[in-house]
């Protein structure tokens, strides 16, 4: 079996295991919560039932009827099924995207109450914002990093490093709040909230989306680009100290060529994968940034479901979809690394 195929299979197995673990956790917590909620609902219904019973019944008859009614309801809600069975059922449902229906009457603006429909309504906007930001920040960051590596040690390079360290320690969504404060409140250049989304069609629609996207996009790029550039710069400069690069320099090959030709070949796999991975890691921060800007994506949906509605099926659905996206992204990053760098090895170090 070729090494790359081995690598691929192993990584995929890992991804499935991870997904399984998270889904199991979701199912476990869901079943537990669902039980508690069902108990509450049964208690309400039984009380209503007891109130509606004819008054001429004896005390004994009443409690007999109430007991029967309770048992019937508990049966319907499946309260007496073994817990592991409920967890298993829930796990399977989650895996197969049967995510249930929202508790909320509003459907969050989607066309029906199914969690999948609601998520389908919100996910594209997150993907739009997030991938645009990722592409811009990765390209810009790598470009800046390469430039900095060329002029390593100069003031420009140092300034970039400090910028990178500073922004790396900032919470992205907090910068978003400052951006609103400055550009929406003080200067009034942009609308403070992205919601509601534009209702026009055609050109006006796209213009509206772009105006709403400007601030969140700028925020994500601003916060992530410095760190990206800094990481790239460090990887490139450390490779520049390798012997064969020194040799290339000694031969009089121009510095530009050394960096773009020789160094990039070695540096590309770690630079690209670390860029993708760190972007995956920032998913949480980006979702909160959506909340700050009222950008109607997954993060906004999550907050609404938590804050206003306490809508468990929707929350569980979001968690599952986010995990799924993460796992797939992680797998892709891994694959890309294996693809770019044929030297990767699986298993423990070979000691020869």
């Amino acid at each position: 079996m070729p090494a790359s195929l081995k690598y691929f299979i192993l990584r995929s197995i890992n991804a499935v295991i991870v997904l399984f673990i998270v889904v199991l956790i979701i199912a476990f917590l869901y079943s537990d919560m669902a039980d508690r909620m069902a108990e509450g609902r049964i208690a309400d219904e039984v009380r209503a039932y007891a109130g509606g019973l004819p008054t001429e019944l004896t005390q004994e008859q009443r409690s007999q009827l109430i007991r029967e009614e309770r048992a019937r309801l508990e049966e319907i809600h499946g309260l007496h099924d073994p817990f592991y069975e409920k967890v298993f059922r829930r796990t399977w449902d989650t895996f197969t995207f049967r995510l249930g229906e929202s508790n909320s009457r509003t459907y969050y603006g989607a066309s029906d109450a199914r969690v999948t429909t609601i998520i389908q309504h919100y996910l594209p906007r997150t993907i739009l914002l997030f991938t645009t930001a990722a592409v811009i920040s990765i390209l810009l960051g790598i470009g800046m990093g390469l430039k900095a590596a060329q002029v390593a040690g100069t003031k420009v390079d140092k300034a970039l490093s400090i910028f990178g360290i500073l922004t790396a320690s900032l919470p992205m969504w907090w910068v978003g709040m400052l951006v609103i404060l400055i550009f929406a409140f003080s200067l009034g250049w942009f609308p403070a909230a992205s919601y509601p989304f534009p209702t026009e069609t055609g050109y006006e629609y796209y213009k509206g989306v772009l105006i709403r996207m400007a601030m969140p996009l700028a925020t994500i790029v601003f916060v992530s680009v410095g760190g990206r550039a800094w990481a790239t710069r460090n990887m490139v400069t450390s490779i520049l100290q390798d012997d064969y690069i020194m040799a290339a320099r000694a031969k009089g090959i121009p510095e530009r060529k050394v960096i773009y030709g020789h160094t990039l070949k070695t540096a590309a796999p770690p630079i690209v994968t670390s860029a993708i991975l760190s972007f995956l890691l920032s998913i949480g921060g980006a979702m909160i940034t959506e909340v700050i800007f009222n950008w109607p994506g997954m993060g906004y949906l999550l907050r609404t479901a938590i804050f206003a509605e306490s809508d468990m099926p929707v929350i569980m659905g979001i968690v599952y979809i986010t995990t799924l996206l993460w796992v797939v992204g992680y797998l892709l990053a891994d694959m890309l690394y294996g693809f770019l760098d044929p030297r990767v090895e699986v298993g423990a170090e070979k000691k020869v």
Binding site: N14, A15, I17, V18, I21, V22, I25, I26, L29, Y30, D32, M33, I165, L166, A168, S169, L170, P171, W173, W174, M177, L178, I180, L181, A184, F185, S186, A192, A193, T237, S238, L280, I283, G284, G285, M287, I288, V291, I292, G299, L302, R303, I306, F307, M312, I315, M316, I318, V319, Y320, T322, T323, W326, V327, Y330, G347, A348, E349
Partner: protein
């Protein structure tokens, strides 16, 4: 297999010396010391804050949405300070009138006047008047009311922000407005007027829309007809400020400086627990893996790879939502998952050290496995792990803050995240309450900067190869 104390001391000292050479690291380290000091002093610096954060009674005497005191130095204009009068300035016994004299020399006059009156009377009802006499001689009568007496006492509360207060202010402004624009059929309505400023505004054509502070001496008069005696305890006036304390207040009157102190405390507690536990677990796991090698290593690495693939954010959301909104659940999740990346690094370093000849040399001198680990491996790996572990602290604290904004804040503690989440909830951004956003976030930034620079400086001290760069 003992580690000699003076040995450790000496090594620590020499590392300290090198660390002191790292300027950024020293700045970062001072920040950490500062935060630590504040946290340790929090019971004295900020008493009654922790459990009382959501209790409005605790903050009743504070102004709403007041800027920090130092705002005057960096922004144009001067702001009225918070002024609490326990004693009246004058008492006229003939009419039982008390007076409070207020010197308004500010571009932004007080945000509110709250009057508490209480006293004794032998009648069954009394009549109460409260009015404000302005420097231009105008007089606004805010209260003209009959108050009933129970058990010979009464107490009364009035605020410019109550509906009566707002009505009177608006009427006053509207009258003035009419003088300038007699033909205006649609004067600005109550909602669009900056109503809290009107009683202190110059009588000009802008009084409703863009009021300007009228400076000079104001007198607040309280007259209670039929009263026997004012009660000194229960009678007082708050000229609520436009600025307050080191960090101002939020729109629910909470003193942000007090919350900030506890925010620092919880940040260090959360981060400290997670980073210490991660360092210990990672050291144990990584070193076991590196030291035993073979299939032990293989299995441990495989397990770690799976753990590394688990996304922490959705797990946090789901557990905190389903089990409880508690920082301890967050801490637990991070204790379970936080060490995985560090363990991988430690293992790699450990394998490197194990393959160094001096470890073999130590064995050939007769060192036991335990001695090799304590004398050669831990001294090298520990500072390294500490440097890396330091970087975890801001990460965890920022995660907590983010979850708070999503609505998963722990209601029993005050964290910077909770403060920011409230800022977002009450629209601090679009109301321009910059201090409410800036200061808690500055806490997060300081913490991040402090630990990242310290960690980086430590890493350089520990890993001499990096020092050359």
């Amino acid at each position: 297999m003992s580690i000699r104390i003076d040995d450790i001391k000496e090594r620590a000292l020499s590392m300290m010396k090198e660390f002191k050479g790292q300027r950024m690291g020293m700045i970062g380290f001072s920040i950490i010391i500062f935060l630590l000091a504040i946290s340790l002093l929090s019971p004295w610096l900020a008493p009654d804050t922790d459990g009382q954060w959501a209790n409005p009674g605790r903050w009743e005497d504070n102004p709403r949405s007041a800027a920090p005191n130092w705002a005057d130095y960096i922004l144009p204009g001067t702001r009225a300070p918070h002024d609490i009068r326990e004693d009246y300035d004058e008492l006229d016994r003939t009419f039982m009138t008390i007076k409070y004299v207020y010197e308004n020399e500010y571009d932004y006059p007080p945000s509110d006047i709250t009057v508490f009156v209480s006293g004794t009377s032998s009648e069954s009802r009394i009549r109460l008047y409260i009015d404000l006499i302005r420097p231009d001689g105008e007089n606004i009568l805010f209260v003209d009311e009959s108050v009933s007496i129970t058990n010979g006492t009464f107490s009364y509360r009035f605020s410019l922000r109550s509906s009566a207060g707002r009505d009177r202010s608006y009427d006053f402004g509207l009258n003035a407005h009419r003088d300038f624009f007699p033909d205006d059929l649609t004067p600005p309505d109550r909602e669009s007027v900056n109503i809290q400023m009107v009683p202190f505004a110059k009588l000009n054509e802008n009084i409703l829309l863009d009021p300007e502070s009228l400076k000079g001496t104001y007198t607040l008069e309280v007259e209670a007809v039929g009263i026997d005696e004012y009660d000194d305890e229960g009678t007082r006036v708050l000229f609520r400020g436009m600025k307050y304390g080191l960090m101002g207040t939020d729109s629910n009157r909470k003193n942000l400086a007090l919350g900030w102190v506890h925010g620092a405390k919880y940040a260090l507690i959360i981060g400290g627990i997670v980073s210490l536990s991660s360092i210990s677990i990672a050291l144990l796991y990584g070193m076991t893996s590196a030291y035993y090698g073979g299939w032990v290593d293989e299995i441990m690495q495989r397990a770690n790879e799976i753990l590394l693939g688990i996304p922490i954010f959705p797990i946090l959301v789901i557990t905190m939502y389903a089990i409880g909104r508690s920082i301890w659940i967050l801490v637990l999740i991070y204790v379970i998952l936080g060490w995985r990346g560090l363990a991988k690094i430690i293992r790699a370093r450990g394998i490197q050290i194990r393959q160094d000849t001096y470890v073999e040399a130590a064995q050939s001198l007769g060192s036991s496995g335990g001695r090799v680990i304590t004398r050669h491996m831990i001294p090298q790996l520990l500072p390294y792990a500490i440097a890396e572990g330091a970087l975890m602290i801001p990460m965890v604290v920022i995660a907590e803050a983010g979850l708070s904004v999503l609505g998963l804040a722990d209601p029993t503690v005050v964290t910077w995240g909770r403060m920011l989440s409230e800022a977002n909830q009450y629209h601090a951004t679009i109301s321009g309450l910059w201090w409410w956003i800036l200061l808690p976030g500055l806490g997060l930034t300081l913490l991040g900067f402090g630990f990242i620079t310290t960690g980086m400086a430590l890493e350089r001290v520990v890993n001499p190869k990096m020092r050359q760069r």
